[in-house]
């Protein structure tokens, strides 16, 4: 089978023993005991510590750097400037549109481009001393005009973030999918709005860290770190560090949260690696909290939308025109991949027939964007649902009714949306009906009416959103007609080995653990295959050397991809086990079946060999086996992305690149205080359909956790840069993460519409509630303040912003 056709359709069996059970997680005991093995828990003999001097300015030329005093401080081993670093390292790996023109290095060289950018790295006996020395470094800056507002950055007279680029536009293109002109012409109603989504970010409680150890004897650079993704691309990091690709070994540690921000977060490894090479000592560089807020390379989307949605008078959506100006900050490492995430589900769960999409990526003096849970598709969900609600209001349609009229029907799958991507399966009505049933809206509407009489404002929001999963490699390059590297690999791998006692070990090859549950998923999947207990499966992580290709978490891909890899590896083991059993049981292949964790003669359960029986034979008794059977019982599967197709030449069809698409309906119930603009939650109903669930409670945790992050995005969190580019939110006193008191009480529902194309019908769901919550909360705010005529068109909807909206609605 080539990967240009959809995978074979599977029949999803209803009979499962382990998949679908909310077992306790295999990961947990070590974390509960305080033995998590996070990167900072590791210590290497002779290890030194790094700290950075960060730029206090948004945009400035580095006139001079005096490191004399810093170098003389006792306990300091090295002080490395950006100019030094530019000799020791090559530029950072960069998947952006023009890396030679927007060159990104691990430390700034002749100018600084954002507050927090690293300028000098100090290496010392302790982090305390490294920071003392950092304070002694004297940097002279010549201030340049900061480029802060994304629209101002477009002006001809704007200062340039990167002079070689010639402008601040890193990428701009309009894509037309379907006959947009005709569809607009045929529509009786067009609603239009301008929407603003400000940047926030993952902000995990654990920062990014690496311990690099360059062995001058062997030339091997070993890096232990809490970020290991895209292992096939590590040769690029090796290139940056000027070591041969086969002399770089990256070893993963569990990450204390990521939410995207540890996806390929290689600058920390680059700095640690560089310092280790310079000093010949192991070096730990662990971001401190300010590093992680200001210099993480993983800020979230920062978009201005101008959108038009065209509909019939009956509210049937026909087409949309989207112009998205995205403020990428000072570098653009992933290009506009975030918009690929948007285009994967740009039309949401609706039958919109055509889309025009213009993306303008503008550079400014801010930290660059990276990945944040949703990776740009959650922003699209918010934008689209805002427009659907605007249309509903315009047409005097109930928000539920307009959605029903436009849903892709459950018999229409697989459904190809205008961009070319496919939605594998879905039953949106069922999810909506389940949510409505759980929400008891009649009761809340009655409460809302009563509250209004008392001058209080209760609101009910309702959104229905797509939740794509498992990205392909093409979304990195289909932006260009002649891409430099039209890559097509994005695999995940698992090795299963069976020891002489029949015990199974599963080896994973990326930093698979971020707080998701890869060990539990794999254990349940392996247990399903081999009829063993999940807790008896040993799950380990391998480093990149000798490692199989692996992508790691992102785009909700881990469970599906691990499932494919486990299935593949299990199949190979079972094939070999069957051959051994044929021999041991003296039976023909057709007479044997796999059952109860072993092989038996069909119809004669007493004639069987357990996996342990078979395994010990393979390990110890070669001469008892046929010649062609090798010793050992181990198999690997490199599971490539199961459904990727190429974009067409003019990019009017991007192909399939995110085929497993789930769905969710969120209904938050809130109260808004019109005096202060405060939003409090009365209830939060969330129903998700991510296909077959491996561990329902684990997925529910991503619903609650993702939703609370979505609440953060919707109401509390923003990286605020003032007009001079000063980052005003450099601590957790100003960057506000929701506490338990800001989290709602949840009512959770699951639906399962299996994927026809994945093992067990699993789809990804890890991005969870954050995909929907911002859209849902905006809808709830509108509903609460409907008597005042407020519409939430920006996010976060902070109390001050809400009051502003109330005041301007009064003024009208």
């Amino acid at each position: 089978m080539t990967l240009t056709e959809h995978p074979p359709t599977r029949v999803v069996s209803g009979e499962r023993k382990w998949v679908g059970q909310s077992i306790r997680r295999l990961e947990d005991p070590k974390f509960l005991l305080g033995k998590g093995g996070y990167i900072d828990d590791m210590r290497v003999r002779g290890m030194l510590h790094a700290a950075l001097v960060r730029s206090p300015h948004a945009h400035a030329r580095i006139a001079s750097i005096d490191t004399t005093a810093a170098k003389q401080l006792p306990g300091v081993f090295a002080v490395v400037t950006g100019a030094d670093a530019a000799e020791l390292t090559d530029p950072m790996p960069d998947f952006g549109p023009a890396p030679d023109k927007t060159t990104w290095r691990c430390l700034a060289v002749d100018k600084v481009r954002y507050v927090g950018e690293g300028v000098v790295a100090v290496l010392a006996e302790s982090r305390y001393i490294a920071e003392d020395a950092a304070d002694l470094v004297e940097v002279e800056y010549e201030l340049l005009e900061p480029v802060v507002d994304p629209e101002a950055a477009l002006r001809d007279d704007a200062a340039l973030v990167h002079e070689p680029l010639g402008s601040n536009v890193a990428y701009e293109r309009t894509f037309t999918f379907g006959d947009v002109e005709r569809d607009f012409a045929d529509s009786e109603v067009v609603v239009k709005d301008r929407l603003r989504w400000h940047r926030s970010g993952g902000q995990p409680l654990e920062t990014v860290g690496a311990i690099a150890n360059f062995d001058r004897g062997t030339g091997m650079l070993t890096i232990n770190t809490n970020t290991l993704s895209f292992t096939s691309y590590l040769f690029l990091l090796a290139g940056t560090l000027k070591v041969p690709a086969n002399k770089l070994d990256v070893i993963p540690h569990p990450a204390g949260g990521s939410f995207g921000s540890k996806l390929w977060a290689v600058k920390v490894s680059a700095i640690a690696g560089m310092l280790s090479k310079v000093s010949g000592r192991p070096v730990k560089y662990l971001e401190d909290r300010v590093d992680n807020i200001a210099n993480c390379d993983h800020h979230g989307s920062d978009r201005v939308y101008d959108v038009e949605l065209a509909l019939s008078r009956e509210g049937i959506m026909r087409s949309m025109r989207v112009r998205s100006l995205d403020d990428y900050g000072a570098y653009i490492q992933f290009g506009v991949g975030h918009h690929g995430n948007a285009l994967a589900q740009v039309t949401g769960p609706y039958r919109i027939g055509s889309v025009q999409y213009t993306v303008t990526a503008v550079m400014t003096n801010k930290c660059q964007q990276g990945a944040y849970r949703g990776f740009g598709s959650e922003v699209n969900n918010w934008m689209l649902e805002r427009m659907v609600d605007l249309a509903a209001k315009e047409l005097h349609l109930d928000p539920v009714e307009i959605r029903r009229r436009n849903f892709i029907g459950k018999d229409e799958f697989p459904y190809y949306i205008p961009t070319g991507n496919v939605y594998d399966s879905g039953d949106y009505e069922r999810v909506l009906d389940t949510a409505l049933e759980l929400a008891d809206l009649d009761r809340w509407r009655a409460e809302q009416a009563k509250a209004r009489e008392e001058g209080r404002y209760i609101g009910i929001g309702l959104v229905t959103c797509a939740e794509r999963s498992v990205f392909s490699a093409t979304e990195f390059w289909f932006w260009f007609d002649e891409p430099g590297a039209p890559v097509t690999s994005m695999p995940e791998s698992v090795t299963l080995s069976v020891d002489a006692t029949g015990g199974i070990t599963a080896t994973l090859y990326s930093c698979a653990f971020w707080g998701n549950s890869p060990e539990t998923m794999v254990a349940q999947l392996v247990a399903e295959e081999f009829d063993c207990e999940p807790q008896d499966v040993s799950v380990v992580y391998a480093g990149s050397r000798n490692g199989l290709p692996a992508t790691g978490p992102g785009g909700s891909r881990t469970t599906v991809m691990l499932a494919g890899a486990v299935e593949g590896a299990s199949g190979r083991i079972k094939d070999k086990a069957l051959k051994v059993a044929e021999h041991l049981l003296e039976a023909a292949p057709d007479d044997l079946e796999w059952a109860g964790g072993g092989v038996q003669v069909k119809g004669s359960p007493d004639k069987r060999k357990s996996l342990a029986d078979i395994a010990i034979q393979t390990h110890l008794f070669k001469h008892s086996l046929p010649e062609e059977i090798e010793s050992g019982l181990e198999a690997s599967k490199v599971y490539d992305h199961p459904y990727t197709t190429m974009p067409n030449a003019d990019r009017s069809n991007l192909g399939v690149f995110y085929p497993f698409v789930g769905h969710a309906c969120h209904i938050p119930i809130i109260e808004v205080d019109p005096q202060t603009g405060e939003v409090t939650f009365l209830k939060y109903i969330a129903v998700h359909d991510c296909g077959t669930l491996v561990n329902p409670r684990s997925l529910a945790g991503h619903i609650t956790g993702g939703t609370v992050q979505g609440i953060g995005t919707a109401l509390f969190e923003e990286y605020v840069y003032d007009e001079d580019g000063n980052l005003q939110t450099q601590s957790y006193m100003d960057y506000l993460i929701p506490t338990a008191m800001e989290a709602p009480e949840f009512v959770i529902g699951h639906c399962e519409t299996p994927s026809p194309w994945t093992p067990h019908g699993i789809k990804g769901g890890g991005e969870g509630g954050r995909m929907m919550a911002p859209a849902a909360i905006a809808a709830a705010i509108d509903d609460a303040l409907a008597p005042l005529g407020v519409r939430a068109t920006a996010l976060p909807a902070t109390p001050a912003r809400i009051v502003e909206w109330i005041e301007s609605a009064w003024a009208r």
Partner: protein, 188 residues
């Protein structure tokens, strides 16, 4: 270096050390005593990841100097299990009250403190008490479930079972609905 000799008891073990005056308690625990269960989060006293108990009361070890532990008793997450897991740890495990595990040691100690003061809290009370500690993964729902579960386990250990007051139920995670076997074969 401005070294100060301190004597402190951590998890019941007495230590004497010379420490730099500015050494933070969290670093003392992690680096000097190799007790890596206490984690560094924000380093400015907001997130609670570094929570330990001093003389039985929760404090933030990232904004406490090691010298302030002189003569005091410190308790860290490592004190909870003694061969077997503490009922709190069992409860968090059962309820999936953790995902990445990074906030968990601080949460466990706060939970221990909360339940010591109030063995039968309501859901609302637990929610308010744990709001001192940030979690970025769970959205808190299952942490609250875990604390209430632990409360029940701890009320029934060491003597008569003591039923709790009427409480709101734990976060309901519905049963996986009945699958339609072979339901998707229609699609080719």
């Amino acid at each position: 270096m401005n070294a100060v000799r301190i004597a402190t008891t951590v998890n019941g073990v007495r230590y004497e050390r010379d420490v730099e005056a500015r050494m933070l308690l969290v670093d003392f625990l992690r680096e000097e005593l190799d007790l890596v269960g206490t984690h560094v989060g924000c380093e400015h006293g907001v997130c609670g990841t570094c929570t330990v108990l001093m003389n039985g009361e929760s404090i933030r070890s990232c904004i406490t100097f090691a010298v302030q532990a002189d003569g005091q008793e410190i308790t860290t997450v490592e004190s909870l299990a003694n061969g077997d897991m503490h009922p709190l740890q069992e409860a968090f495990w059962e309820q999936q009250g953790l995902q990445c595990g990074y906030c968990t040691p601080g949460m466990l100690l706060r939970a221990q403190e909360i339940l010591a003061a109030n063995p039968d809290p309501t859901r609302e009370q637990v929610k308010e008490e744990i709001s001192s500690n940030l979690c970025r993964c769970t959205g808190y729902a299952f942490i609250i479930d875990a604390v209430l579960d632990a409360a029940q386990r701890m009320r029934t250990i060491g003597g008569e079972p003591a039923p709790g007051a009427d409480q709101e139920p734990a976060t309901e995670v519905p049963e996986v609905p009945e699958r339609v076997p072979g339901g998707e074969e229609a699609r080719a």
